[in-house]
Chain length 439, copies 2
């Protein structure tokens, strides 16, 4: 008999089927043994009656996380016994045969069969390979997969070509301090902290490019929204009229991603009580306007023209209240806090750049880039960078490149905020921070 998946059972009432999966939990009611079985498609209740002697004997030994194979009859559950919370809640399996395929070798350090784990972050991360089996934790990564899949679909539809760019670089450009250093044969090399230069080269070749790839940041952060390795959703587009075109494109992308996640992950979102608001027009606001609001409405003053984590949280709160939007674009960041390649605004103190905030945190940075060779070299010098170190990057501009811009989106923060997770680390299978390199 061929194994079937649990989510196929509701169509097979009255038939004997073969299932394989993990024991979520066993419960005994008198002589009846109940087992909740899970596989990649869902969860189902199974019952083992004493008459099926071999199966009953085998079932008595079963514990959580045993991996088993069963054959049994699919039966409709009577009305009162239905579990409305899961799609297979209307059926159960009356087990005829039960075999153990594999089993835990140790006492499980955490009980993952419960609906709500209620563990602290370190416990969640230290016992990662086990904790990730919990149904509610798994839901995070189904949403994550849907989200990055939807991102790739929409940008392709918009004419962006998927590219893969090197993560090992010969020099720590773009600033310097937050690069990890590698021993590369007889040379030193560095891990890419963004695909910025390569996606700009991509514009010179393909006009519109995107990349889903690893990003490495050697920043010693201890926050709920930073990790040292993450997946960036980057895109860059040529022939723009200005950075408004970049924001308009990103708005379209986020609208699509949110629709797709709500449509395709209903059960997973429900498990977190999360609701996704349709994205329409995302409000745009100059950074200086945002700082005025923070001052007037919240009595929060910044020492310079910049915004901190608290400011981002408060301005999102204000936008939600006043514009009913979970998103807001802050624009025109000052030149001194943006990278050298940022296109200056008509008032050259500011840049044609933006951050996209979502539910209290920055999830994307972007803007128009300088495309004129001479202007770029001048900007490097102003930022005290040596053009000679950037000669390969400068080749892009020597050969001519159209006006262009793009964004870098942090994939994990999006899922973190959609689900209201306390830390970004919960949205990463095996996160890396200053102290954590395992598991």
């Amino acid at each position: 008999m061929e194994r079937i998946l649990i989510d196929e059972t509701p169509k097979l009432i009255g038939q004997v089927v073969k299932l394989q999966g993990w024991v979520n939990i066993r419960r005994d009611h008198g002589k009846l043994i109940f087992i909740d079985l899970r596989d990649r498609s869902g969860k189902i209740q199974m019952v083992i009656i004493p008459d099926k002697e071999d199966a009953h004997r085998a079932a008595k030994e079963i514990r959580s996380e045993y991996i088993i194979e069963v054959e049994g009859l699919v039966k409709a559950r009577p009305g009162g016994a239905k579990n409305e919370k899961i799609p297979t809640g209307g059926v159960e399996i009356e087990v005829e045969r039960l075999d153990v395929i594999s089993k835990p070798e140790v006492e499980l350090p955490v009980d993952i069969s419960v609906e709500e784990l209620n563990l602290n972050l370190d416990t969640l991360l230290d016992n990662r390979t086990l904790v990730l089996r919990n149904e509610k934790v798994k839901a995070i990564f189904k949403i994550y997969a849907e989200m990055i899949g939807a991102y790739a679909r929409i940008v392709k539809q918009e004419g962006f070509l998927e590219i893969k760019t090197p993560k090992i670089l010969d020099s720590a450009t773009e600033g310097g301090a937050n690069f990890f250093k590698i021993k590369y044969f007889d040379k030193d090399a560095y891990l890419a902290q963004s695909p910025q230069f390569y996606k700009q080269a991509g514009v010179g070749i393909f006009e519109r490019v995107f990349e889903v790839g690893s990003v490495f940041r050697a920043e010693p952060h201890y926050t709920t929204r930073h990790v040292n390795e993450y997946i960036g959703l980057d895109a860059e587009m040529g022939f723009i009229g200005g950075f408004e075109d970049v924001m308009a494109e990103l708005e379209k992308v986020m609208a699509y991603v949110m629709v797709e996640v709500s449509r395709n992950c209903q059960n997973e979102l429900e498990a977190y009580g999360a609701q996704i608001m349709p994205v329409e027009k995302i409000p745009r606001m100059k950074l200086t306007e945002a700082l005025d609001i923070l001052d007037k409405e919240y009595g929060k003053k910044m020492d310079e023209v910049d915004i901190d984590a608290e400011g981002e949280r408060l301005i999102c709160e204000w936008v939600k209240k006043n514009h009913n939007s979970d998103f807001v674009f802050l624009t025109h960041y000052p030149t001194n806090i943006r990278p050298f390649y940022s296109m200056p605004s008509p008032d050259p103190q500011y840049t044609e750049t933006f951050d996209l905030l979502f539910m209290g945190v920055e999830i994307a940075s972007g803007g128009q880039r300088i495309h004129n060779y001479g202007q770029l070299v001048a900007s490097m010098k102003k930022h005290k960078l040596d053009p000679e170190e950037f000669r390969h990057y400068l080749d892009i501009f020597k050969y001519g490149i159209p006006p262009h811009g793009g964004w870098g989106l942090g994939s994990e923060r999006i899922v973190q905020k959609i689900l209201g997770l306390g830390s970004i680390k919960e949205a990463i299978l095996f996160p890396r921070d200053v102290k954590r390199l395992t598991p």
Copy 2:
């Protein structure tokens, strides 16, 4: 007027349109100036007549790789003047206005307007940002993007969940010598040379997982098929009956990928004279049988039970001749040349593993993995590895995991072989080898 893309022009005969793109080449015929313009969608011929004085004056200054904006009338080309080789060969643009958007600052080191570049590999790679603009070179990366997109589509359809796993590891496991070392804050760390352990953990959680991600190999190779950083197409699946199930799945995946690439990249394949044969049943052959054939048919003897690059090439030649297949699975590699986690065959000198060869080279390695904790620890010891160093990996097996297996596919080699490129480096935008860290 809104810019349109070049591939929209055949539907717009008789209308004035606005185009933006790169000048591929300018040709003067008496007083007529012809310009081939390219954008992300294609290429089109434009003509500038002397009557349009401003445009004609501007066009005289134009050189290859100038980025321009034009307005002009879409006209049908008379029968004899049609270019059958491109989809827009039946139309041309009679230019009314021409403006330069951006232009090269230097003499171009290579002429990329030609159909065939005929450059040596170093020139191709040293001038990468320019060379990649050549139409035929660009075609490689359209095929590459289609290929990895098709891979993701088919494995998702087959129930694999997309995961992203860390590339920074705390220890150089799985062997040791071919890891790049990183300075990670106050610790040493290593770059992942495969997502092997994490995708096995993924089986314990999601049953079927796949990853498209960066792979780093510190091997000092100087060949046409090795680089030190590449994109791996990994997958791992639980509840297998044996490693035949893994091969069957990979066969299905390759068949789909090849169909999709042939269907969606016809022009790009044609530029290389490449034809993709439909994949049906891929022949399977024990490594020892392959070695017998090499001995008998080609007089090639190996010192041990292993195969080298020449052997892989010859056995593919033999399979092509005798079974008319571009693919072949070699199976049952000896235990001593496979990683410790490989499932031993009933004859424990051999393993339940395979390599998939395609047109002369290995493109994938895979097999069944050991899933029993005790057996795995014993295998580590036999391979002279310290189980204590693998304690996080071993947790996966302590908590129980089903029989499973999977593969790692090298994405760039597939495209290299489909197109008959001399080096894998031609199939990578910005390749990394022992000597090359730039551009």
